[in-house]
Symmetry: C2
Subunit: 482 residues, 2 copies
């Protein structure tokens, strides 16, 4: 619901107040919501503003209007699905064999007329488009030649300064000269893996884990070893310790902050434990921190990097999930591997694009980032909540859904026997995208799981798509029982 206009901010305030009253039990199903006039007085905003806030809540399915009478809390109570249990992949190291599956799924899912439950990026209306375009115009006016010229590795120095400045939020201190700019975090992870491991080497990952990391492991001819993972707390340190004893793990690729797909957040003590565990064995840890700024709690969780004393943690991040997917601005905090990472980046795609580095540096320097993030976090949290409740309402009994503590993705466990690849196909035929669970494992697990994304503002169209998905899942689970 956020846009750069101040009015939307006010509508949000109204909606949040009421949704808070529903959440904490002040308002129960069937209760009348405070009148427009009363709320207008209380919040010191116009009646029209309150009205719009209520309309938004109605669209989101929380309240309903009754003619001549006002707004009421919807009579059907929210159903809060239970989260999936801790995984126990018990897998051996094995090659990833996706082939073109991921591209096929995404090329079909990225049509503009498809309801985008398969896309983890924030909708354009949630992005600071105007501020970015302003920054872009500003930098090309100020330095017309720079945008056309090469920016040699390790990348734009002002951008590196801004990233270094913000690294305090991650709980660590990184000098601008240590940072290597990459074309998105994808390139950072690929280069980092190539620096620390060779084809045939074993890489430990979460289970489920983001398919992008698995695809890189596939391309580099490495083996993935899936580790027990809690949808809430992330990779299980004890399970990782056991795996290190059984297998010659060469590196760990992990997301501590807001796993894609589960939205889980690793407790700080677990991060410290994993970093120490690996330090004792001299094993590098490649961290994907692209979701780290999208926390729903009170403060930014630390990254693994904060606990590293040995220079073994390589943190990859980007602005793709928070500010500008199309800018492809990413970076690596390379620990002790600075020289090799800079070299590998150079070989992988030479310099990165100049003008988006310049514009992003300008955007960060202008102090827009924190304000934007605060709004985006609120939007993601709200969208995820709506999605969870809609699943509770529309999906077959026994469906579970993760309880994300950040990010924009939800991990949904369908009743046993429901094949999410079939669900994906049928959903697509109905104009809805979703991501089958099997993409989040190297071993074909999670067939009855699906990842749903909440990067878009809640709307009737999305609510209705979730309902359709629920019906399709129901058909599939009935078919299974027959």
């Amino acid at each position: 619901m956020y846009s750069s206009q101040g009015d939307n901010y006010l509508y949000d305030q109204v909606a949040e107040l009421v949704s808070g009253m529903i959440d904490n039990g002040t308002l129960k199903a069937g209760d009348r919501v405070p009148s427009l006039r009363k709320m207008s007085k209380q919040l010191q905003v116009s009646v029209a503003t309150v009205m719009q806030g209520y309309v938004n809540l109605e669209e989101a399915g929380l309240i309903e209007s009754r003619p001549q009478s006002g707004f009421y809390v919807r009579s059907r109570p929210r159903v809060d699905p239970a989260p999936p249990k801790k995984t126990n992949p018990r897998a051996l190291p094995r090659p990833v064999q996706f082939g073109n599956t991921v591209e096929t799924i995404f090329s079909l899912a990225n049509q503009p007329d498809i309801v985008p439950l398969g896309i983890a990026n924030p909708a354009p209306e949630l992005l600071p488009v105007r501020a970015l375009n302003r920054a872009l115009r500003e930098v090309i006016s100020r330095d017309p030649e720079a945008s056309v010229s090469y920016t040699f590795a390790p990348g734009n120095s002002e951008l590196r300064r801004q990233i270094a400045f913000r690294s305090a939020d991650l709980g660590c201190e990184v000098a601008p000269d240590d940072i290597v700019i990459t074309t998105g975090a994808t390139e950072g992870m690929a280069v980092a893996l190539q620096v620390v491991a060779k084809p045939g080497d074993i890489i430990a990952v979460e289970s489920p884990t983001y398919f992008c990391g698995l695809q890189i492991i596939e391309r580099l001819g490495m083996l993935a070893l899936e580790i027990d993972t809690d949808p809430q707390d992330g990779m299980c340190p004890k399970a990782l310790a056991r795996a290190l004893e059984s297998h010659p793990v060469k590196a760990v690729l992990s997301v501590a902050n807001f796993s894609n797909p589960t939205g889980g957040l690793m407790p700080e003590a677990n991060k410290a434990e994993v970093v120490q565990l690996l330090a004792r064995r001299g094993i590098p840890l490649i961290e994907d921190d692209v979701m780290g700024d999208l926390y729903f709690g009170n403060s930014r969780p630390r990254s693994y990097q904060a606990y590293d004393r040995e220079g073994l943690v390589i943190t990859c991040s980007s602005v793709s999930k928070t500010v500008a997917p199309g800018y492809r601005v990413g970076w690596v905090l390379p620990g002790r591997f600075r020289q090799q990472i800079a070299h590998g980046k150079q070989l992988n795609s030479s310099a990165s694009v100049s003008v988006t580095q310049m514009a992003m540096a300008e955007f960060l320097r202008g102090g827009h980032y924190d304000r934007h993030l605060a709004r985006l976090r609120r939007a993601c949290r709200e969208q995820i909540e709506r999605l969870r409740y809609a699943i509770g309402e529309h999906f077959p009994a026994g469906t579970r859904a993760s309880r994300p503590q950040g990010g924009s993705t939800l991990w949904v466990q369908l009743p046993r026997g429901v094949d999410s690849n079939v669900l994906y196909q049928r959903a697509l035929a109905a104009g809805i995208s979703a991501t089958p669970g099997t993409l989040f494992s190297a071993t074909g697990k999670y067939q009855n799981f699906v990842r749903l994304c909440a990067g878009h503002p809640w709307s009737e169209r999305i609510e209705s798509a979730v309902k359709t998905l629920g019906e399709l899942a129901d058909e599939l689970s009935l078919g299974e029982r027959v």
Copy 2:
């Protein structure tokens, strides 16, 4: 000397007329150049314009002014260095082992205060900076959200349409849907090599060859096999045929149009011969065509792609050497490997930056490219000529220099025994960059060669740097003789 202002165009006209008269013998050393007034009348331009054209010629070392008397053709005749001979590397396939050498050399050479004889990109003043920035502003105004959003593989459709449209210049026909956009040609070549070969496989290359290709071969753990190459005519088809009989060559990586470093142009018959030779054996040919538009002759040479009937030629190109190095806009014409190349590109760095693709599409659509290229070609040809004559004048006897037919690089053979790595070090200490010949071979050949680049408008500063380089080379060759 070119800039976007019309005046410079007029100065160039003056300079070209006079330099043409010197070239064709109308004006000889010591002759008086036509007076300002006469030339002004003849060309219908102002006396001030002629004066500036003459001053430019003077700076370029072709004419000299004598007080109270006018301009005269310089009395010392131009020395035209002989080209280096055909190479005969007689090498076995072997791994490339550059390590960080290339980065070290370039990080030192890319300081702004260094005379840039080591940099192959055109100087910013030769690039269409204003038109590009205009295109950039235009696209973000027209579609504010698109620049911030992902552009999924195979890339911006209007850009692919423009590239397809221009592929007729290469002598081939490529559909927009076949083209895959990459982050520069570097990424295209890396992805293409990964698609057609595996670690340990043998890749045939020219000798000398562009170090960027060798670096990719190194990173992918493949082996380079150097083939006899004529500095003028490129890779020798007979030598390639022999190599194919002795070694299980998995792919060929070749530059037919304006080799970097030699500037050589492969005759059309040789291109056809190489393509047919490889087609008979089903061996893919990866072509680096980034210099193809920088021809000094009357028309754009064809690419290997024009002779391909089997879909075995993969053409990689970009705008980095012609329009906008900092945009990192490259593309692949993938032959029969379209799906694998698109997949590999996706894995390598996911989507490419949106806004530079949009701006480049707009630039091409606006018809700016051909006008810009015509000027850039004239500038490069002139700069290369000046560089060759300056080498003839200032370098030790016995120095040879290639005779580029396009591009912006010159391959210089120093007297036997001169170590170009020492020359590079001493030049750097004197504030001049140059590229040691050993970077152009996997086998440490070409120690007494150096690549010099002519991407910058000729100036006294550059003339003086070439003189210094010549003196340094002279010292080294004397040291050798002692």
